[in-house]
């Protein structure tokens, strides 16, 4: 198997809006592929379509299986860890309970997760809703890393966080990428350059560029594709 994810001609319509208009790209097994684009171009929708969280048409292959039409839990059980854009920790549950829900089988790697985020062990009995934004993001990433997942879908892990914490999370994801394939949605180009090897750029619901992360060193291309200055 050479590709962890293969998508072709993916269409998604949400509330009458044609969000994805025939997206096709593949994520090679191993390393980090970054999915980039301006706000609202369909990056998060693409991840949600892969997970079966939104209705879509087209072909989606995940870890060797054609998953179009599968229920979400079945797709995830193929071996996906997911960090959603808004963290989506269960605020009424404790940190321990949030992690317990993410357990899959008997191979939960609590030691590894707590060595990455010792704070989560100390705050095990604290309700997740009372954690800070950074701590909630730790918990969200910890849930995804708790089991041996060959594929991680990570949606804007740096969103709304202080630069020091962003750098800490980037280090964690760098380590995770040594064992798993990562499809990363991220607006912070310095994080993308640190983590990713490949990039896929979306615009208006279509793939407009795919290539190596070094393409981001071209300021003209970055401005043209992402609408931002490229000197990140």
């Amino acid at each position: 198997m050479t590709n962890a994810v293969e998508i072709s001609d993916l269409h998604v319509t949400i509330a009458g809006s044609h969000v994805l208009q025939g997206v096709s790209f593949s994520v090679p097994t191993g390393g980090v592929t970054a999915l980039l684009g301006r706000n609202g171009v369909g990056k998060t929708t693409t991840l949600r379509a892969i997970l079966g969280l939104v209705a879509s048409s087209g072909r989606i292959q995940v870890l060797g299986d054609e998953v179009a039409g599968w229920p979400t839990h079945r797709i995830v059980r193929l071996g996906i860890g997911y960090v959603p854009e808004d963290r989506d920790v269960f605020s009424a549950l404790t940190v321990e309970q949030n992690l317990r829900l993410a357990e899959s089988g008997s191979g939960a790697k609590y030691d590894e997760v707590f060595s990455l985020f010792p704070e989560l062990q100390q705050r095990g009995r604290q309700r997740a809703g009372t954690l800070s934004g950074g701590q909630q993001q730790m918990l969200s990433i910890a849930r995804a890393l708790l089991n041996n997942r060959p594929l991680l879908l990570i949606d804007e892990p740096s969103k709304g966080l202080a630069p020091k914490i962003v750098s800490e999370f980037a280090g964690v994801l760098e380590r995770a990428a040594q064992h798993s394939t990562v499809l990363l949605v991220e607006q912070n180009l310095s994080v993308v350059k640190r983590l990713a090897q490949r990039i896929v750029v979306l615009d208006h619901g279509e793939v407009v560029h795919h290539g190596e992360v070094t393409d981001l060193d071209d300021p003209t291309l970055v401005r043209q594709l992402l609408g931002v200055a490229g000197a990140a």
Partner: protein
């Protein structure tokens, strides 16, 4: 003062039955967004199952054994009926709220009609032991024994549900699902099983509530429409307590039960306005919705 204490005792017992009816309704809506208008039917079916058990089993078993078996049977049958309803009728209609409302109303009407056809529209008497209709003399008060049964059942179910939701994996899945069903799925969990389980638990509690209402407040009489009239108060309790909150349902059920007893006696008894008890609960609902639109324990979005 004695009358006030007896009314309080009776109000707590009524609240316990409202809690049994409302907590399942609240969990079902909280987890699945299903407004289950067939919930009253599960109460009625529980009561009829209890009636069948109490009247068909040999009387040589003795009235106390028969009533215990009737209560257990009502609980199990309520759960079974709800589980089958979820699997056959509700499951194909997730995400279609109007269809769910219509099908649960239709199911209620159809089965109540069948009950009327099979058992007749007149109320049927469940034989109960003498102990249940006698009062206990306690501190100068005569307290109806049946009320102890309702209060005991309400407390046991409340504690059991709280422990289940706090300690078991399925309990945690249900709490997480009430908050964010999509993320539970994204962790690889089949929420559909939790849906069925919640329906079964809710139906079992409704069945228990149905038979206890018959024994405690309905003069041991079972009738086809009894669940539907209870359902109105169950919905009021759920909305006052906050959708999806068990503690909210408990507090609201107690409040509604007490308010109904006090107003029925102190206002209705003097003025002859018998419906004042029911009206007072609707007024309470209006006040709570005005001050806290998400109910007493409802989550902030």
């Amino acid at each position: 003062m004695n009358i006030f204490l007896v009314l309080t005792f009776s109000g707590v017992a009524l609240g316990a039955i409202y809690f049994l009816a409302a907590s399942g309704l609240s969990l079902i809506y909280g987890l699945m967004d299903v407004l289950n208008f067939a919930h009253g039917l599960f109460m009625t079916l529980g009561a009829y199952a209890g009636y069948e058990i109490a009247t068909r089993l040999p009387t040589s078993l003795g009235a106390p054994t028969l009533v215990i078996l009737a209560i257990i049977g009502a609980t199990l049958f309520g759960g079974l009926a709800a589980g089958v309803t979820e699997l056959i009728l509700i499951r194909p209609l997730y995400g279609k709220p109007i269809s769910q409302i219509l099908i649960t109303i239709g199911l209620d009407l159809a089965v109540v009609g069948l009950l009327m056809g099979g058992f007749g529209s007149t109320a049927l008497q469940i034989p109960v032991p003498l102990w249940l209709v006698e009062p206990t003399h306690l501190g100068g008060l005569f307290l109806p024994n049946a009320n102890f049964l309702a209060i005991g059942a309400g407390v046991i179910v409340l504690i059991g549900l709280e422990l289940f939701l706090a300690l078991t994996r399925y309990g945690i899945i249900i709490r997480a699902g009430v908050e964010n069903r999509e993320m539970v799925r994204a962790l690889g969990i089949d929420v559909g099983r939790a849906f069925t389980l919640v329906f079964v638990i809710g139906g079992a509690m409704a069945g228990l509530g149905g038979i206890l209402y018959t024994i405690v407040f309905s003069g041991d009489l079972v009738s086809p429409n009894q669940g539907d009239s209870l359902l109105i108060f169950a919905f009021i309790v759920v909305v006052i307590g906050g959708l999806g909150s068990i503690r909210g349902s408990a507090v609201a059920a107690l409040t509604v039960g007490l308010l109904q007893q006090y107003t029925s006696f102190y206002i209705g008894g003097h003025s002859g306005w018998a419906q004042i008890g029911d009206l007072s609960t609707v007024l309470l609902l209006a006040v709570v919705l005005e001050l806290r639109p998400r109910g007493l324990f409802g989550r902030v979005a």
